[in-house]
Every structure is written in structure tokens, then in C-alpha cells.
């Protein structure tokens, strides 16, 4: 049964979407939504949308309750943050609503708010394909789409209701009004696959706050890129002086104290791509985060070589995010710009702090590649 509430419910969802959009920057920079993800949905807490009326200021009013306690004792132990107590009468307190939003919806909202372009086709490869689906019935259409059964059923209905149906001579002739046609909807479906290869420097100079920033940013990068492709795979590489592939959890929670050889990670990434993700059928997004301290100038030059010859040619775009840390010199981003200036397959972004995440997402995804 189609519920009558559906219409009002979708109006409400629309309003909520607006709310989420308004608060999106806050969500991004406070990391509020990560960890609220369960499967394909994220549950987002928003303040209940209240209809304002003339009413009393709550804190002056108080109320009446029942139970133990002496004058002066608090109402209910712990839950006393701000508007803990509720009062008698029929005005409830302020409620939080938990709204489930699919990752797809969230990506749409992200796209709208940050004005992200959809990712463009890469050469002959189609990222999104339109597909026609027959989804319903309507009263007009080309005769090739006529739905015979439905048309005759309608005609039969009409004849019975007007009393012109003769069961001895069961001839049913549809007239114009009885005709029913299949209707279709064009649906865009992502078809291509993509892989994100996250690389992160986990040497001593990358602190917890830096890693947290990477974690928050990667959540949104995942969400957006997944929205554009049919399938998304993610691979994780951590490195200090050597690189190794790890799972997501280890990726964000490892801390090493060795030196930093960025080239080790780039090498490993190139290997992974070569063996698992032929660039003819995959959209490849390597993201590398570090605080910009590399061990030596020599290693940096190796990195540049690797980028030029191995990584950039196969990637949709190669993104380097430099997270500011008190220990890092921040040199690497300058080296990259210097050597690869003008190569638009390379995007670099400096992320000073949490508030800079939004801007960084925009830099990475704003080119629509």
C-alpha cells in the first residue's frame, strides 16, 4: 500500500537535505559523520525542526515533577547538559532527529554544496551510461509500446460498467480512452570502475591530528568518487622509509618512527596498479598524504621520475595532500610544483588544519577528472 504520508515525508526529506547542506562544512571539519556510517547509509543527527510559537523561555519557568529528592538536589544526575530537564505541560524538550542518508545522497549534497563538477569521461571510457527502463503505464504513447493486456482489461472494465459487455458474445473492443502504453524512465547508471590508492606517511612527524585529518578527508573523497562509479575499490599503503600495503584500519592507526622515503610508496603504488588495475579499464586515483618531509633530495627526484613515467600516465589524477605538522618542513609540495609545473594530472593541496579540509576536497575534486 502506498502510504499517504509519502508526499509529506519527501517534502520533509527535502528540508532536511537543505539542513544537511547548510551544516555540511561543519560536518566535514568536525568529522562528525564518520563513525556514523553503517553500510550504505550515514545517520545524521539534526535538531528537530521546530515551528516557532510564542512560548515561555524554558529556564525561567521550571515545572512540577514526582519522586525523591530534597530541595536543591539536581533533577537527574548526569544528563544535565543544558536542556536536560523537561517540564510538565505539553511542550516537549528539544529533540534530536536521526536522519538516515544514503552515501549517494550525501555525495549529491557534497557536490551541490562544494559545486563539484561531475567527473568527466576519460577518453573513450564512459563513466555513466544512460539506460531506459520500462517502469510504468501511461495513457499516451507510441503504438509500438501499447500494452495489450492492460488496454483490453480497461476496455473490459468499461464495457462491464456501462453494461455493454455481453458474456455470450465476449468481444472486447478497446477505444481510444482504454489504450495503455508502457512508459519508461531514463536512468543514468555509473558503469566504470575506479580504484583509490591511498598512501600516507606514517613516520614520526605525522601526528595523530594529521592522521585524523587524512581520515576525515578520505571519507568524503571516497563518498564522492564512489558516487561517480559503479564500483570503487580502495587500497592502502603506509610508508616511512619502506612501504607496505595494509588494511584500512591499520592505515589510520599505525605510527612508526623511522625516516621517510616517499619513493617507496610510489613504487609500491605503481606495482599495484600494474598488476591489478590496467588503466584501460580502471579509473585510477592515487592520493598521497604527508607532512612534506622527505629523507633526501635524491629520493624526491626518484619520486618525480616515478610520477612522470609510471603514475601520472595511468592516473585520472594524482593528488598530493600536504598536512601541516609542527615537525615537517613542508618542502615536498614545493618540489613537486617545481618539477611538474603545468602537468594538470597532478593536484596538490595544503591542509593546514581541519577547517582546511573543505577547501582541499574542492581542490582535489574540483577539476572533475
Amino acid at each position: 500500500m502506498a502510504l499517504k504520508i509519502d508526499q509529506d515525508h519527501s517534502r520533509f526529506r527535502k528540508i532536511v537535505r537543505g539542513r544537511i547542506r547548510e551544516n555540511l562544512r561543519k560536518y566535514i571539519s568536525q568529522g562528525e559523520l564518520i563513525g556514523r556510517q553503517g553500510g550504505d547509509v550515514v545517520s545524521i543527527p539534526i535538531n528537530q525542526i521546530d515551528i516557532p510559537r510564542f512560548r515561555y523561555g524554558e529556564k525561567q519557568q521550571g515545572g512540577v515533577g514526582q519522586g525523591e529528592g530534597e530541595p536543591g538536589s539536581p533533577l537527574s544526575g548526569e544528563e544535565q547538559e543544558g536542556d536536560g530537564g523537561k517540564k510538565a505541560g505539553n511542550q516537549g524538550g528539544e529533540h534530536l532527529l536521526e536522519i538516515d542518508v544514503t552515501l549517494d545522497e550525501l555525495a549529491e549534497i557534497l557536490g551541490e554544496e562544494l559545486e563539484l563538477p561531475r567527473i568527466e569521461d576519460r577518453g573513450s571510457q564512459q563513466i555513466v551510461k544512460s539506460k531506459d527502463r520500462y517502469v510504468g503505464i501511461r495513457r499516451t504513447g507510441p503504438s509500438s509500446l501499447r500494452h495489450f493486456k492492460r488496454s483490453f482489461r480497461k476496455a473490459l472494465q468499461r464495457q462491464i460498467s456501462t453494461g455493454t459487455y455481453n458474456s455470450k458474445n465476449p468481444v472486447v473492443i478497446p477505444i481510444r480512452d482504454d489504450m495503455r502504453y508502457r512508459s519508461w524512465k531514463t536512468k543514468s547508471e555509473p558503469i566504470a570502475q575506479a580504484v583509490i590508492i591511498y598512501m600516507m606517511d606514517v613516520s614520526g612527524s605525522m601526528g595523530d591530528e594529521q592522521k585524523e585529518i587524512v581520515r576525515m578527508e578520505s571519507f568524503w573523497l571516497d563518498t564522492w568518487i564512489r558516487h561517480q562509479y559503479k564500483g570503487l575499490e580502495t587500497r592502502y599503503i603506509i610508508h616511512d622509509a619502506v612501504a607496505r600495503e595494509v588494511d584500512r584500519d591499520t592505515f589510520f592507526h599505525t605510527r612508526e618512527s623511522g625516516g621517510t622515503m616517499i619513493s617507496s610508496a610510489y613504487k609500491l603504488a605503481a606495482e599495484i596498479i600494474e598488476s591489478d588495475y590496467p588503466s584501460s579499464s580502471w579509473n585510477i586515483y592515487p592520493f598521497h598524504f604527508s607532512d612534506g618531509d622527505n629523507w633526501s633530495v635524491d629520493d624526491t627526484l626518484v619520486c618525480i621520475e616515478l610520477l612522470k613515467n609510471k603514475l601520472l600516465p595511468v592516473s585520472n589524477v594524482f593528488c598530493y595532500g600536504q598536512v601541516e605538522s609542527p615537525y615537517g618542513s613542508g618542502q615536498f609540495i614545493k618540489d613537486l610544483s617545481e618539477h611538474l609545473d603545468g602537468d594538470d594530472r597532478l593536484i596538490t593541496s595544503e591542509i593546514r588544519d581541519r577547517d582546511a579540509i573543505v577547501g582541499s576536497i574542492k581542490e582535489f575534486l574540483g577539476k572533475g577528472r
Partner: protein, 494 residues
């Protein structure tokens, strides 16, 4: 089963409208509950929000709606499919008591839509009325556009509580009756004359003319619009605001529905208490079988549970009815009782009058929450029920118990219930400074308005009135005016 419960209810003297039950799945229940019990209501996003909340809350196992009952004749009640037998019995008994309350409590008489001459019962076809409202608004949505109409409804809802619930929900608005014409011609002030023949000397014609002119000028100056403060702000706006036809219809619908729902807010404690009283009676004395009684007690306990800082209307209501019943059974009322101040004597006071049952039926008919509490809350009851008043302590930044003193508890409770806990707001002047500005006045009773909300309401008021609007109130002990002129909010001291 329904017939059986109904028979029990009648046996106890409950007097109900005919009642039909419908059994719903929880999705349907949530949907209908979101619409306030009325499928086919006008479209508005808040019903969608309500639905989202109810469904979530149900899915998380936080709450479940067992029943819903509509003040309509015939009354309609919805039961949740999948409730246990005991629950259904309990709920039915509960529902019959609600319907008895709808039929007999005086506040609900205001929702009558006339009398049925054949049955002698009031007509309350609100299910149809609200569906018609839905149709009217849907029609305007098609013509004017969904955003336009919905936004206007948002504004109307912000003003929804500015009604005068003493009015009948179906009262037709008075047209501008020219009260002034019916005013009696007042005597002109004259100087005292001891002898008739002196009259012309003492009060010559010129003098009288002069007096007349002074009086007319005074009058013109004093003539305000409206002449008396008007509690029914929505009614006033309907009559005088420059509204387009669709706006007027929408506003009028919001007002009528607000008036229809008002009695429920005014009798929450009484109505729930009454239903709880009777479902316990019917279940324990009649309906529940031996094996069901534990389940029943469990359900019943969860209904009566109270949490700190929150008054459970079911519990307060049912206890107060029981208290009244006991007092009237024992004759603990009247002058003799009031004057008795011997503790021992009071405690053992029992005249075995047995008037309790009769009394509570009378109470359910002639009282609302305010008068119920005002008249029957006793110091003994407040002590026995461990009632306290609480307030916000700014120093500790927390809610605290303030007092267990009878008078203070009672005053706080009455304040929370008066006008259903809403501030009193009147139309004071609709032609302020002769510029057609609208002034509302808040009758300040010790508690300030929530200022940010007041701002939002002024914006809605301005949308309807289309001229600058103000509300006069007291903010932090200073007489103040909040003003919105259509573009900015200002505040000044009066």
C-alpha cells in the same frame, strides 16, 4: 471481545459515542499518528517529520503506539496489530473511557458541529471536516504552488496557538458589527442644579455644546481598534488582515483545527487519568483472566512510570481521581472537614458516605485540568505523591528541585497548565500610530517569552498582516517592545 469490553464499560456507567475499531499495522499506525489521527489531512512536511520520528522510535524499540482514538461521533479508535490479547483488552477499555470523556466533558462540547435531531447526540464529523480541509488545501496547492502554500502554512502554524479556546471550534466569525451604534447616548456632564429653574443659567446651551465637543474629541482620541483587547488573534487576523482568498481559507482551516484540538490539551491529565482509572478497573475486576493479570500489571506499570522532571499525566490523573473518590467515599469534604485540624481525627475520618463514584463522574464532566488541580489537589496528595516543583538554577547550571511546599507546587503546576502552558497574547491595537501597525500585548505572568522564537513569530505575523508588527512584553524586568517591520527586528523599552 469488543462487545464484552463495551458491556463492562456500560455496566460501570460509562456513556460513550458509538465506537468503531480498526486494526492497523505499525506502518499504518505511524502514518495515521503522524497525521494526528486523521488520514487525508492537508499536506505538510511536519507530518512527514512526525512520521520519520515515530518510525525511528519504533524501529529502535523506544516507543510503540498502542492505540489512538479520535474525538468524532461515531468515535474511531485504531489498534495496533500484533498486540497481545491482554494489551488489546486493556487498550479497548482505555479507549472506551476516552470516548466517554469526549462525550461528557464540557470542554469537548465546543467541538460540536450541531445536534442530530433524531439521536439527540452532537454531530462531530471531524474526520470528514479534516478531510475536507485537506481537499481545500490540496486544491490551492495545485493552483498556487506547493512551496507557496506550504510556506504560508508554516507561518500560520507559528500563530496557531493564538486562539481563544473558549470559543467553539465551529464558531463563525463575527462580521464587523457596529457596536458603537448601539452605544447608549451618554448624559452630558452638567453642573449640579438644585432648582430646576436655575438649569438654563447654570448650564447654558453654549456650555453644554462645549462639553459635548470635549467629550466627542476625547472619544475620538480614545477610540482604538479593536476597542477591547482581543484574545482570538487568529480570528482577528481573519477578519481584518489583507489576505488573498487562498490565504484566508488556509488560515481559517488552521484556526479551526487548532480550536478542535485545544480541548485535548486542556484536559490531558484528566482524560488520561480517566482512561487509566477505567482500564485498571475493567481489567482487574472484569476482563483479565488469571493468567493475564501479570502481563496486565507489567503493561500498566510502564504506563504509570514517572521520570524525574517530568510529570506523567496518566499517573497524576489516575491518582487524583482515586484521591477524590476516597475523600467523597469517606466524606472528607465540606465545611466540617475543612475546619477540622486535629491530625488524628482527620486521618481516621470516615463517614462512609460512598459518594466517591458519583463524584468522579461529576468531575469528569465539569472540570478541565486547571480547575481539576485547583480544586482537588490537596496537601496530603502532594505529600503522598512526592510531588515537587523544580526550576533552573543558574549558579549550578542545572535543573533542581525547588520546593515541596504545597502552595508552591500547586502554583507551579497551575501555571504550567493555564492556557495549556502557553503565554496569553492579545491584539492590543491594530492601527497603531494611525499607521495600521499591529500591536500584540503579552500578559506577563512572571515568565518572559522566548525571544528568538518571538522574533520568528513576528515575521510570520508580518507576513499575514503585511504591515509592521510589535509585541509588547516584559524582558528581564523591563517593559519592552519587540518590533519587526518586514526587514529588521528592533527592540526598545516602553
Amino acid at each position: 471481545m469488543q462487545r464484552q469490553i463495551e458491556a463492562y464499560a456500560r455496566e460501570y456507567g460509562l456513556d460513550c459515542f458509538p465506537l468503531s475499531f480498526e486494526v492497523l499495522s505499525y506502518e499504518q499506525m505511524n502514518e495515521i499518528a503522524a497525521f494526528g489521527g486523521f488520514p487525508g489531512r492537508y499536506p505538510h512536511w511536519r507530518f512527514g517529520m512526525e512520521y520519520e520520528q515515530l518510525s525511528k522510535s519504533y524501529e529502535y524499540g523506544l516507543s510503540k503506539i498502542y492505540e489512538m482514538v479520535i474525538n468524532n461521533n461515531p468515535a474511531i479508535a485504531y489498534l495496533l496489530e500484533g498486540n497481545s490479547m491482554v494489551e488489546q483488552k486493556l487498550v479497548m477499555a482505555h479507549v472506551y473511557a476516552h470516548v466517554d470523556f469526549f462525550k461528557n466533558n464540557f470542554t469537548f462540547k465546543k467541538t460540536d458541529q450541531g445536534m442530530d435531531p433524531e439521536q439527540g447526540l452532537p454531530i462531530r464529523k471531524w474526520v470528514d471536516t479534516l478531510a475536507n480541509h485537506g481537499a481545500v488545501i490540496r486544491r490551492w496547492v495545485n493552483r498556487v504552488g506547493v512551496d507557496e502554500v506550504e510556506t504560508f502554512i508554516d507561518h500560520c502554524l507559528s500563530l496557531e496557538n493564538l486562539i481563544d479556546s473558549r470559543h467553539h471550534a465551529t464558531r463563525s466569525l463575527k462580521k464587523d458589527s457596529s457596536d458603537s451604534e448601539q452605544e447608549q447616548v451618554e448624559e452630558l456632564p452638567r453642573l449640579r442644579v438644585d432648582h430646576d429653574y436655575m438649569e438654563d443659567y447654570i448650564n447654558p446651551k453654549e456650555f453644554l455644546d462645549r462639553q459635548k465637543k470635549i467629550r466627542d474629541d476625547d472619544k475620538a482620541r480614545a477610540k482604538k481598534f479593536p476597542e477591547h483587547a482581543e484574545r482570538d488573534v487568529l480570528g482577528f487576523l481573519l477578519e481584518h488582515a489583507p489576505l488573498e482568498r487562498w490565504e484566508r481559507e488556509v488560515l481559517s482551516i488552521i484556526r479551526r483545527e487548532a480550536l478542535y484540538f485545544a480541548p485535548q490539551a486542556q484536559t490531558k491529565i484528566m482524560n488520561e487519568g480517566w482512561a487509566t482509572y477505567w482500564h485498571s478497573k475493567i481489567m482487574t475486576e472484569r476482563a483479565a483472566t488469571g493468567s493475564e493479570i501479570i502481563d496486565y500489571a507489567d503493561r500498566c506499570a510502564s504506563v504509570l512510570a514517572s521520570s524525574p522532571g517530568q510529570l506523567n499525566p496518566y499517573k497524576l490523573g489516575v491518582e487524583l481521581y482515586k484521591h477524590i473518590e476516597e475523600r467523597w467515599n469517606k466524606g472528607q469534604f465540606g465545611r466540617e472537614w475543612e475546619q477540622c485540624d486535629t491530625m488524628h481525627e482527620r486521618q481516621n475520618w470516615d463517614k462512609q458516605l460512598g459518594l466517591g463514584r458519583k463524584k468522579i463522574f461529576e468531575v469528569r464532566a465539569y472540570y478541565n485540568d486547571v480547575t481539576f488541580i485547583d480544586e482537588f489537589l490537596t496537601p496530603e496528595f502532594v505529600a503522598a505523591q512526592k510531588m515537587y516543583s523544580f526550576g533552573y538554577n543558574k549558579r549550578n547550571n542545572r535543573w533542581e528541585i525547588e520546593s515541596r511546599v504545597f502552595k508552591e507546587v500547586k502554583d507551579k503546576l497551575l501555571f504550567a497548565l493555564t492556557n495549556a502552558g502557553q503565554p496569553f497574547i492579545n491584539v492590543e491595537d491594530a492601527n497603531y500610530a494611525n499607521r495600521g501597525e499591529l500591536i500584540l500585548a503579552h500578559e506577563h505572568r512572571g515568565v518572559d517569552l522566548k525571544v528568538d522564537y518571538a522574533h520568528a513569530v513576528l515575521e510570520s505575523l508580518n507576513r499575514v498582516w503585511k504591515r509592521p508588527v510589535e509585541v509588547h512584553t516584559i524582558i528581564e524586568e523591563k517593559a519592552s517592545a519587540l518590533r519587526y517591520d518586514g526587514s529588521e527586528h528592533t527592540q526598545r523599552h516602553l
